[in-house]
Amino acid sequence: MTFEPLSRRRLLTRAGALGLLATIGTLVTPRLVLAAWNKAAFESKTLPETYKLMGAEGATESGDVQILASDIAENGAVVPVQAVSKLPDTTQISFLVEKNPNMLAALFDIGPDMVPDVTTRIKMGQTSNVVVLVKAGGKYFTATKEIKVTLGGCGG
């Protein structure tokens, strides 16, 4: 047995393992059917600018959009918020916190297989209006609720 065939075998084994890893990678990677991460919108510092970067200028208040959250959050680091839209053809639900350093907290693109009802937990630096922004039928609608924070969620 010479050195060469051994090293060749090892090389082939390694190549095989790499190939397998690559295959797993493609299987695990989510198929992104919708938009890429909207960096500009997440980093913008004013509400009008955030709306603009989301294409949501001219969003109007709607009674068919609901934001469900308690009036007072004891811990700003963990504020449960739920958004419900009764509008037909709802395709997107976002949560925005007016007085956070960056307003946009989370954006959900939902397909026709979803009930437009999403719950998550967000951080709030201080008492602020929380806006639920809904895209339905290509237009944007909002619901706003003030949540009082007794203990801030940022910087602590």
């Binding site: 695990v28 990677t29 989510p30 198929r31 992104l32 059917v33 919708l34 938009a35 991460w37 909207n38 997440f42 680091a77 963990v78 504020v79 449960p80 739920q82 916190v97 956070n100 350093p101 960056n102 946009l104 907290a105 989370a106 954006l107 959900f108 693109d109 939902i110 397909g111 026709p112 297989d113 979803m114 009930v115 009802d117 999403v118 719950t119 998550t120 937990r121 967000i122 951080k123 709030m124 969620g153 940022c154 910087g155 602590g156």
Partner: protein, 103 residues
């Protein structure tokens, strides 16, 4: 690769309610460590939910989603035995996928 997610998916009256608890620091980038040096931002930025092989929801998150994020949503359809798969990708490019069976 982070710690496993806890996923519960329950079907009732034709609607599958999914609850997910993820394990992640969700560092904002605004905080400083004990020596005053800024702690860099590190957060889950994208979340994908699938029922079976079909993507039903795609989320984009910023760092102001709470640490160890919780997420609940409702899918039209789905029945006991179906698979719900959640994948997240964070701002460092780390990713994790977990699957739960609908009950």
């Amino acid at each position: 690769m982070g710690n496993p997610m806890k996923i519960r998916a329950a079907s009732k009256d034709g609607i599958t309610e999914v609850k997910v608890l993820m394990s992640h620091e969700m560092e904002t980038g605004f905080r400083k460590d004990a020596s005053g040096a800024p702690i860099p931002a590190w957060f889950i930025s994208e979340v994908t939910a699938k029922l079976g092989d079909k993507v039903v929801m795609e989320a984009q998150w910023g760092p102001s989603v709470s640490k160890n994020p919780f997420l609940a949503f409702k899918i039209k359809g789905g029945k006991a035995g179906d698979k719900v798969t959640i994948t997240w990708v964070d701002s460092k490019g780390d990713t994790r996928t977990d699957t739960a069976t609908v009950t």
